[in-house]
C-alpha cells in the first residue's frame, strides 16, 4: 500500500470514528424540534431547557454520586490488590489479574443479571448503593492495572533504601511508595470515574427505578418531544466522560500505551 493510500485510509477511519459524534453535537444545537437533515437553523435554548429539567438534574447528580462512590471503592480495593500481587508470592496470585478482569470481559448483561438476582435474593433496596456496588465491581481492575503497571516499573531499591535508613514500614509507604504511585492512582481514578459515569448495561439491572444520566437517555430517546433535550444530555455525557479519560492519558503519557492505560 502506498504512503498516500495509507494516509487516506487513516483519515477515513478517523472520520468514521468522529462524524457520528459531530452530528450529535450539531443536533444538540438544532432549532427545529424535528430531527430532519440537513439542519436549517441553530439555537442554544435546549441547553437551558435541559438545565431546567428536574429529572435531568437529578440524573446528573445520581451519576456523579455513583461515579464518585464507585471510584472510591475501586481505588481502595484496586490498590490493595495491586500492592499484594506486586509485593508477595502467594497461592492463587496468578489468577487475581484474570479474575478481576472478568466483569469487563464477560458480557455486561451477565454481570448485571447476576447482581440483580443477588440484590433481589438479599432483599436490599435498589438505588445509589446498588449502582455503586455494580460499578465498583468492574472499575476495580482499571485502578489495579494502572497501579500494578507503575509498581512494576518502579525499582524496589528505593523502598529498601528507605527501610535501611531506619524508616518504619508506614513511613516508607507514606513518604516513598505513595508519592511514586500518585499519578498512577489519579490516572486510574479518572478512568474508573469515566467508566462508571457512562455505564448503562449493568446499571439497568442495579438501579431499580432510579435514573443515572445514561439511563435517562435510554428511557427518553424514543419520545419525540424529548429529543432536543436527549441530544443535549448526550453531548454532556460525551464531554463529562471524555475529559477524565483525556486527563488520565496525559497523566500516564510516559507509560507505554495499552488498553488498560
Amino acid at each position: 500500500m502506498g504512503r498516500l493510500g495509507l494516509r487516506l485510509a487513516t483519515g477515513s477511519v478517523l472520520a468514521f470514528l468522529y462524524i457520528p459524534l459531530v452530528i450529535i453535537f450539531l443536533f444538540a444545537f438544532n432549532a427545529d424540534r424535528g430531527q430532519s437533515w440537513p439542519i436549517r437553523s441553530y439555537t442554544v435554548r435546549w441547553f437551558g431547557d435541559a438545565l431546567a429539567n428536574g429529572d435531568v438534574r437529578d440524573a446528573l447528580l445520581l451519576s456523579v454520586e455513583a461515579a464518585l462512590g464507585a471510584t472510591a471503592i475501586s481505588l481502595l480495593l484496586g490498590s490493595l490488590a495491586a500492592l499484594a500481587v506486586h509485593r508477595f508470592r502467594f497461592f492463587g496470585r496468578e489468577t487475581i489479574s484474570f479474575a478481576l478482569v472478568l466483569p469487563l470481559a464477560l458480557p455486561g448483561i451477565v454481570t448485571g443479571m447476576a447482581l440483580n438476582a443477588t440484590i433481589n435474593t438479599a432483599g436490599i433496596g435498589f438505588g445509589l448503593v446498588t449502582i455503586i456496588v455494580g460499578h465498583a465491581t468492574f472499575c476495580i481492575v482499571v485502578v489495579y492495572n494502572n497501579i500494578l503497571a507503575r509498581l512494576r516499573r518502579t525499582s524496589s531499591s528505593i523502598e529498601e533504601a528507605s527501610l535501611d535508613l531506619g524508616a518504619t514500614t508506614w513511613q516508607t509507604f507514606r513518604y516513598v511508595t505513595l508519592p511514586v504511585l500518585r499519578t498512577a492512582i489519579l490516572a486510574g481514578a479518572l478512568l474508573a470515574f469515566a467508566l462508571s459515569f457512562d455505564e448503562v448495561i449493568v446499571t439497568t439491572f442495579t438501579a431499580g427505578t432510579d435514573e443515572t444520566l445514561p439511563i435517562w437517555i435510554l428511557n427518553h430517546l424514543r419520545q419525540p418531544n424529548q429529543r432536543p433535550i436527549v441530544n443535549v444530555v448526550a453531548v454532556a455525557v460525551i464531554v463529562l466522560s471524555a475529559v477524565p479519560v483525556y486527563l488520565s492519558q496525559r497523566l500516564s503519557a510516559s507509560d507505554a500505551g495499552g488498553l488498560s492505560g
Binding site: L17, Q35, L77, A81, P107, A114, L218, A242, A256, L259
Partner: protein
C-alpha cells in the same frame, strides 16, 4: 512488627479486594448460573427450585433460539472481520509511519471513544439512521437513493463495527509497533516487495495482536443488547436474555440463555490463546 509477619501483610492487603470479589461478583455469578437449572412454574410464575435441564432442552431444541444464536455469532464474526480490515491501515500508519507527535494525537483520538460514551455513540447512529436522517441524505447524494439501511441486520453490523473499532486498533497498533525494523528491511533486501512483505512477514507477526483485538470485538458484540434494541428490530442473544428476565420475568430461562455467550467465549478464548493473543493484550 508488621514487616516481620509477611503472611499477615498479605492477608491484610488481600482480604478486602478478594472478599468483595468473592461475595459480590463470584457469589452473584453462582446464584445466576445455579438458577439456570431451575424452572418457572407456568401457572403461578414462581421459580421452582428443583434441578432440571429443561431450559437447556428448550434452547437446543427450538429452532427460533438456534437462529438467534447463529445470527448473533454471525454478526459478531462479521464485525470482527470488518474491524480487522478497518483497523489495519490506521494501526500501521500509527505504528510505522507517523512521527511521535502525530502518533500521540492519533492514539488519543482512538482512545477517547474506547473509554467513553458507549450509549451516546449508539444513540448518535440511531439519529443518523433515522428516516430523512444524515445517512439517507448522504446515500441519495452519492446516487443511491433507494438503499435502505435503517434498523436492520446491516445497520447492526455497521454500528457494532463502529462501536468496537478502537478495541481492535489499539492492540494491533501495539503489535505492529513491536515488529523489529530489521525484519522488514531483511524482507526488502531479499527482494520481498510491499505485498509480499505484508503477507509473509507483517501479517504473521501481527496475528497475535489481531487475535487479541478480536477477543474484544467478538465478545462485546456477543453480549450486547443495547445496540440491537436501538438500531434494529432483530432478535439478538442479549435481547432475548433481557426480555426473558425483565419482561417475561423468567429468570431461570434468561440465566440458561446467558450461559450460551459465556460458553462460546470460553471456546473463543482457547483458540485465541493458541494464537498468542494473551501475550499481545
Amino acid at each position: 512488627m508488621l514487616y516481620r509477619h509477611r503472611w499477615l501483610q498479605v492477608l491484610l492487603l488481600l482480604a478486602p479486594p478478594t472478599g468483595w470479589f468473592l461475595v459480590v461478583y463470584l457469589g452473584s455469578l453462582s446464584v445466576l448460573f445455579l438458577s439456570a437449572f431451575w424452572l418457572l412454574d407456568p401457572l403461578t410464575s414462581a421459580v421452582v427450585h428443583t434441578f432440571s435441564l429443561r431450559n437447556f432442552q428448550i434452547l437446543l431444541g427450538d429452532p427460533t433460539y438456534r437462529t438467534i444464536v447463529l445470527r448473533t455469532v454471525g454478526i459478531a464474526a462479521a464485525v470482527t472481520l470488518t474491524d480487522a480490515l478497518l483497523a489495519f491501515p490506521i494501526a500501521f500508519y500509527m505504528a510505522r509511519v507517523a512521527g511521535p507527535h502525530a502518533r500521540s494525537l492519533l492514539f488519543m483520538a482512538v482512545l477517547l471513544p474506547l473509554w467513553s460514551s458507549y450509549l451516546v455513540r449508539v444513540y448518535a447512529w440511531r439519529v443518523m439512521l433515522q428516516p430523512h436522517g444524515p445517512v439517507e441524505s448522504f446515500l441519495s447524494a452519492i446516487g443511491l437513493p433507494n438503499v435502505e439501511i435503517g434498523y436492520s441486520d446491516v445497520s447492526m453490523w455497521i454500528v457494532f463495527s463502529y462501536i468496537w473499532l478502537p478495541y481492535m486498533i489499539l492492540p494491533l497498533y501495539a503489535g505492529l509497533e513491536r515488529i523489529p525494523r530489521s525484519l522488514l528491511e531483511a524482507s526488502q533486501d531479499l527482494g520481498g516487495r510491499g505485498g509480499i512483505t505484508l503477507r509473509r512477514v507483517i501479517l504473521p507477526l501481527a496475528l497475535p495482536a489481531l487475535a487479541a483485538g478480536s477477543i474484544f470485538t467478538f465478545a462485546l458484540t456477543l453480549g450486547d443488547y443495547i445496540t440491537p434494541t436501538l438500531i434494529s428490530n432483530s432478535q439478538f442473544i442479549g435481547n432475548v436474555v433481557y426480555d426473558s428476565q425483565g419482561v417475561a420475568n423468567n429468570i431461570p430461562f434468561a440465566a440458561a440463555f446467558a450461559i450460551v455467550p459465556v460458553v462460546i467465549m470460553a471456546g473463543y478464548l482457547l483458540i485465541a490463546r493458541r494464537l498468542g493473543a494473551f501475550e499481545a493484550l
